[in-house]
Amino acid sequence: MRWIWIDKFVEFESGKRAVAVKNVTLAEEHLHDHFPGFAVMPESLCIEAMAQTAGILVGEARKFEEKVILAKIKKAVFFDYVKPGDTLKLEAGIDSITAEAASTSGKITCDEKLIARIDLMFSHLDRNLGGKEFPEDNFVFTDIFKSLMRGVCFAEKN
């Protein structure tokens, strides 16, 4: 099972903002149980999709050298349902970023309709665990996540 909740990036400004899209399909098995006869994408997965959009934006800002993990959901407010057949547009922007953490804000829309506002905080694993050791290779940004960025034109960082 692969845990990827966005399909591709359509805009990417390194260190600033990114926009990804996700197509919701009835082929996603959990929708048949959530709920029977009324399929809606769980809000928790919408948050995960935003976390992946914002997390990759934060990771790329530091050249994927940090292990970026979701640490806190500062705000997640939902205004409408997400249904099979919807194409979600996930926009994320970096509010602050330091060596140890980053704060992002974002929104999810579908056909210009506002679905959610989600603000997140990420932690950079190796810098925050007081000496605990983690494997050296970056297990957060696997090849499949990096492949989402192929084909996106983004502004070069100075």
Partner: protein, 133 residues
Amino acid sequence: MAQSRDEILQQVRQVLVDALGADDDEVTTEATLMGDLGAESIDFLDIVFRLEKAFDVKIPREELFPAENLMSDPEFVKDGKLTEKGLSEIKEKMPHTDLASFASDPDINKLGNLFTVGAIVNYLEAKLTTAGS
């Protein structure tokens, strides 16, 4: 433009309400961040980011909340209590906190009690004064 202590307090209270989801009336000057308001370590980062934005100053996290590095250093902590060296280190790094009662029983489990709303206001008062001069 200098901000009065009261103005600083009001802004700090708003930041803590937003960052910790606390009720307005819970955020008193004596309230401890971890004990009374339920803050965890990631919240400390969130609070620093929001304070930087609200007061337009740079706040190195180790300046406002230095104890985290201290706690893992064996020179400063022994048998669950701060050593003499640890105590003087804290006095130097955290002049914005009230160390009088902590010094009598420097149990590291009680270190969290030093981080009160008032301590943040003290820190910002000092920081904004030097920033303005």
